[in-house]
Symmetry: C2
Subunit: 153 residues, 2 copies
């Protein structure tokens, strides 16, 4: 386990984790932390995904976004299928070091596998406890996911 | 379980979840989804936290941010101890409906329990696979957490 976490520091006291300069990420029971990805230009949240230690290391080392897919149980480089890679402009980590925020330059028309710029293309109306109908916002499809993500022969 | 999820819709097909207008959130094995909270004015990511079904319902109904603390296993309204509440300007949900993004007006000087505006006050240097030293950014403490979060008598 120690080798797996290299070059990360061991978790220290709360004071060390919150006020220190050592990168000591807290991976959950599945070995993952949360990553929020925003557009470096507009600030828009493009996606929320997960990173395991390997994905985090590769992202830091390469400056390109790598994630871990929970559904596929696999490491992936954003854009490896679609070409829509993400160059990381800045990475931040939060107080308890269980989440990172990356600001990226998004290649291609969008980050979402549905064909949209952002995964967050629907708003939840507030103040209505009854039947909730989502409202599409910025929901235009900018590319055809069937063409972009189709299996290579 | 069905009652607990009211007023949320059951999970349908992938097409229904991604392209439909029904709010059908996907809670994880612990009954949680991820919430990204940004400043409605600046776009800055203030915090990443979790919501259970109850927290999500209360946030939608009240327009104020409610979360579920994994460490304390408790529902909490942001600001109930500190006074630093969050008024939700807009809520978005992502393609597979396992994460929400709320844009908020943050009351008080900051969202982070360490006394800072945002929980993301340290940057992770990129391109260096060796020993990683975090860099403080916007790391000024704007309030004294010992005073703000102290137990009431």
């Amino acid at each position: 386990m120690a080798d797996e976490l290299f070059p990360f520091a061991p978790r220290g006291s709360t004071e060390e984790v919150e006020e220190g300069r050592a990168l000591a990420p807290k991976f959950d029971a599945d070995g993952l932390l949360t990553c929020v990805t925003t557009d470096a230009g507009t600030g828009e949240v493009l996606m929320v995904a997960h990173m395991n230690a390997d994905a985090l290391q590769r992202t830091i080392a390469s400056g390109e976004a790598w994630y871990f897919s929970r559904s596929r149980r696999a490491l992936w480089r954003k854009g490896e299928s679609s070409g829509h890679a993400q160059r990381v402009v800045e990475m931040r980590i939060d107080c308890d070091q269980d989440a990172v925020w990356i600001k990226v330059e998004q290649a291609g028309p969008g980050a979402c596998h549905t064909g949209r710029r952002s995964c967050f293309y629907r708003a939840v109306p507030l103040g209505d406890a009854g039947a909730l109908m989502l409202e599409f916002r910025d929901g235009e499809k900018l590319f055809d996911p069937r063409a972009v993500y189709r299996q290579k022969p």
